[in-house]
Amino acid sequence: MEAVKGESGKPEGPSASRREFFARGLGALAGGVALAAVSSGAERRAFAQRPPGALPEKLFISRCVKCGQCGRACPYKAIQMSEPGSGVAPGTPYIMARSIPCYMCQDIPCVPPCPSGALDPTLTDISKARMGLAALTGRETCIALQGLRCEACYTACPIMDKAITLETRVNERTGRHVVFEPVVHSDACTGCGKCEHACILDQTAIRVMSIATVKGELGAHYRFGWMEQGL
């Protein structure tokens, strides 16, 4: 390591003059504003299933200090750390339910180790977790909807008969069989992804996505009279 000393420009540290100080401050401010401009546009589009208790996505990405302690606490190794270029904010924990879903441990071991509060420590009842919302997107491939018996997602669901129910109707094709349609209910689904994991298709027909994506949002001006009357 030969002398690099001169190249760095000597005036640094406490001896820097006032003008240099202000120039430096302006430079830093400019850099900060530039970085801020870049980062405000850095909102992710794709959905990442977060561990239980995760704050809303945008807040979560910045609050999380990317330490991986939630992942180390997960007995199923369901929680992974994302890497640059994966489409998920680098370093943040996420779950790939198709490989390993959240098994909804009663004691939620992943949340208490979180030092930043990116995973909400007040979450103590795992059935209150909202990691996303399952949706049966493959209506043309789901074999139950084609009239075959499957129920893999229904039986895998940890909140059986509440988060996924089987709705029956007559199989119009045969006229004498029943179609058992798995229907997801947002008031009970935690978005754990066990249904996505259990789906027997080569590419899953049911998958966890963001609640907003799956559910949509009704305009505030809609009034359902029968609901207001409690009917």
Binding site: E12, A28, G32, P84, P90
Partner: protein, 266 residues
Amino acid sequence: MSSWGKWWYIRRGTMALILALFLLPAWGRWSLLQGNYSASTLLGIIPMADPLAAAQAFLATGGLGQKALIGAAVVTVFYLLAGGRAFCGWVCPLGALMDLAHWLSGMLAIRKPFAGFPSVTRWYLLASMIIAPAISGVALYELYNPISIFHRTLLFYGAGIGMGSAMLVAVMFLYELALARAGWCKTLCPLGAFYILLGRVSPMRVEASTSAPAELARLMGETCPEPGAIAGVLGREPFNGECTLCGACVDKSGGAARFKWKLTHS
């Protein structure tokens, strides 16, 4: 540049030990130290957090968990007492990797075409990464922080982390190995800059007796991996905090320089 004296072994041993403690939980062994260099838990109770990572999260989101706040305080106080850039010299594995790159480029006699960024760049980076999250509400830097990426690659490879991160680490290594004479640690690293600030007020320093003979001082200057640091150690310039307390000069000095902990340095 590197002298393989007593302090070199103690320092690298310390670094390897901390790394091993981090890695043990990954292999399903004792979790004495859980997490990574961004935030961790020691012995299941003592929280530690990278002060800059914590600051960014706090400034971006207007709040932070108690453990991260306490952890950042724990780490800040520790390096305030232990000598700011002791982190760079004794703990940071990226620093070790960069040292390895420099050592290799010396061995291979590689001529690097780029002098490196001016060393003030790290101050711009430090200031921007404090300002930007506060304005934008996004802790962007922390997503692409090379230190964090390297630490994640070391500690979480296979747990979601793979080739993408490894490639980034390779790029950093090549930058140090073949491109820049003054690379990441000496000119760019904002975390190092933060620890420079702590080092300036830390009671822990390497100090040499001012009466060190010129020949010895030259030898110590040659062995010092931080070109801006040795003058301060020798008392020829005000101490600027750039010393990583690596102890290379202590090994070379034959007793003229030593680690010194005292509240007021002359």
